[in-house]
């Protein structure tokens, strides 16, 4: 356990040094703040529900951005250290490979969590500063959004490690990471939507659709945030979906956690089998 902590601290130290933390935090804060102020314009300053609007726009942003940032941090973690030769030395130390992997995961997740918390927290802070009144339910939805955003980041960090443990070169890892991002964030939904339109409900039943949605972590995240809270789903235009949803928040959350743990476990197996 101590080894995991040592590696995690080093990862955080490195991320601070090469300004990953700074860049990510600033990017997320800038986007969150601009969405907060620009995004509330079309609602005509209703005030009371301001934070719910922010949640809708921020979670849509998160689906694109956080997986990308997570994959950028993680795709290089194993194959990159192997190519640079630093992994050889590290593994000659009294540390197990799974400890290296878990330590990196903890470190990278901390970096991402810090950036998300601070960046999105800035948006909420700005709302409070402008004098908007926010009720408890909105705060709960906002907290859930931040938590699930970090969890979504964890999923793609784990997926990035799996890629990094499997491929032979850094270039291949980068290519695969971009491919995975495109697949989960863009292509999957478009294909699903296209199929639904063509199918007209003949083949694709509700149960099958639910399963298909659970197969994409980005969709799980979207469902969790846009249908989980009544106020939010009203704004996101998904109130109808929310009422008929058979996937409860706890199931969605469990699916998201499984999406983080399974790739992480597979990455550990792949890494332990790899010869240096």
């Amino acid at each position: 356990m101590r080894n995991v902590l040592i590696v995690a601290l080093k990862e955080i130290q490195e991320a601070l040094r090469n300004r990953w933390v700074l860049a990510t935090t600033l990017l997320l804060a800038a986007l969150a703040l601009s969405l907060t102020f620009l995004g509330s314009t079309p609602t005509g300053h209703v005030g009371v529900r301001a934070l719910d609007v922010v949640i809708v726009s921020l979670s849509s942003l998160t689906i694109f951005l956080l997986p990308l940032i997570a994959l950028l941090i993680s795709h290089d973690a194993i194959v990159g250290e192997m190519e640079r030769g630093t992994m050889l030395l590290l593994l000659s130390y009294p540390i197990a490979r799974w400890q290296v992997l878990l330590g990196k995961f903890a470190g990278h997740l901390m970096v991402l969590a810090f950036a998300t918390l601070l960046g999105y927290g800035a948006a909420a802070g700005a709302l409070v500063a402008t004098g908007a009144t926010i009720d408890a339910e909105s705060w709960a939805a906002f907290a859930a959004m931040i938590g699930s955003s970090i969890l979504l980041g964890a999923v793609f960090i784990a997926v990035g490690y799996l890629v990094s443990a499997l491929v032979g070169s850094r270039g291949a890892a980068a290519g695969a990471a971009i491919g995975i991002w495109l697949l989960f964030v863009l292509i999957y939904d478009m294909a699903l939507l296209g199929f639904l339109v063509v199918d007209q409900g003949r083949v694709l039943s509700g149960g099958l659709l639910n399963t298909l949605l659970l197969l994409n972590p980005a969709d799980i995240y979207r469902l969790f945030n846009l249908t989980g809270f009544a106020n939010v789903s009203a704004f996101s235009g998904m109130a109808g979906v929310a009422q008929s949803a058979q996937l409860g928040p706890s199931l969605l959350l469990a699916a998201l956690i499984a999406w983080a743990l399974v790739p992480l476990g597979l990455a550990a197996v792949a890494f332990s089998r790899r010869e240096l």
């Binding site: 080894n3 040592i6 080093k10 130290q13 490195e14 040094r17 090469n18 640079r84 030769g85 630093t86 050889l88 030395l89 590290l90 593994l91 000659s92 130390y93 009294p94 540390i95 197990a96 010869e275 240096l276």
Partner: protein, 305 residues
């Protein structure tokens, strides 16, 4: 004394290529052993096997009484390793880097910083490793290998990139550890540098161990001729040839020089002859076979076999 490293019938194949073929040897504590061979002779593979980074295809490796690949890390705490081309994360400073490795070995940071001073990096400890020269990185690499007073030290081509003064202080540090009872395995592709420094030499070629012994033993096995150079006095060529007649292998060099290839058994007889009262010899020089010749001999004899 029990061996710290025990390798038996070790075979390592990468696909169809055998990088190490049926190698056996043991290394005792308190000895510096040189592992010599060309690039691709299997030196680095042997070290990786000793570190447990790769698994043997056949045979066994025991380091400090443990199988290094078994996933138990007690032995690794007493093991130092300096990889062939060392690299560190360039963003961290020397201090942060050595502190990280010290924590992994559960060593106090103060001791690690003392090692940094020891290898002469004290002035650069707060600079980023990315700004270090090759020699400085190598010294940082040595400092991390020395963490925790290792009982077994594996140094893969340790002196590449070090200037002669640093090389000397590097070997001083190594000698100190050896005197302290550590086993030191140094790999190199040149034997010359290791003269006087390695008590024992293991020569590898294409994954096969071709020779193993002290330099004197290897010289005896190789039976390489000693070169005796004579400067002869001004004399008639015939008289000189008469005098040299009992000696088999000789040749003239320049005007006054004669070079004799003396087999180990004949060496003393030739020297007696050359220093006899009627010998026309002004000066005499004895050149034992160099390590490079010795090395070349063992590589040749294995390739012919």
């Amino acid at each position: 004394m029990t061996a710290t490293v025990d390798i038996r019938n070790l075979v390592k194949r990468f696909g169809a290529v055998a990088a190490v073929k049926d190698v056996s040897f043991t290394l005792p504590p308190g000895e510096t052993v040189a592992l010599v061979g060309h690039n691709g002779a299997g030196k680095t593979t042997l070290m990786k096997l000793m570190l447990g980074l790769i698994h043997p295809s056949e045979g066994t490796v025991q380091v400090l009484g443990e199988n290094p690949a078994a996933g138990d890390f007690a032995a690794r705490r007493h093991l130092g390793y300096l990889p062939e081309s060392i690299s560190f994360n360039t963003g961290l400073t020397g201090r942060e880097t050595i502190a990280f490795y010290a924590r992994l070995k559960r060593q106090p940071i103060a001791l690690a910083l003392a090692l940094i001073e020891r290898v002469g990096l004290g002035h650069a400890v707060d600079r980023r490793v990315g700004t270090y020269s090759k020699g400085m990185r190598q010294r940082l690499g040595l400092a991390q290998a020395l963490l925790g007073r290792p009982r077994v030290l594996l140094l893969d081509e340790p002196t590449t990139g070090l200037d002669p003064a640093l090389r000397q202080s590097f070997y001083d540090i190594v000698e100190e550890l050896r005197a302290d009872g550590a086993t030191i395995l140094l790999s190199s592709h040149a034997l010359t540098e290791l003269e006087e420094r390695a008590g024992r030499v293991i020569i590898m070629n294409r994954g096969v161990k071709v020779a193993d012994g002290t330099l004197d033993e290897l010289r005896r096995i190789a039976q390489l001729p000693t070169r005796i150079r004579l400067r002869v006095a001004e004399q008639l060529p015939d008289a000189l040839e008469n005098w040299l007649a009992p000696i088999a292998n000789w040749r003239r060099i320049n005007g006054h020089g004669v070079e004799i290839d003396a087999a180990p058994a004949d060496k003393i007889a030739i020297l007696r002859h050359a220093t006899g009262p009627e010998a026309p010899v002004d000066d005499l020089e004895v050149v034992p076979p160099t390590l490079d010749e010795l090395y070349a001999h063992f590589l040749r004899s294995q390739e012919q076999a």
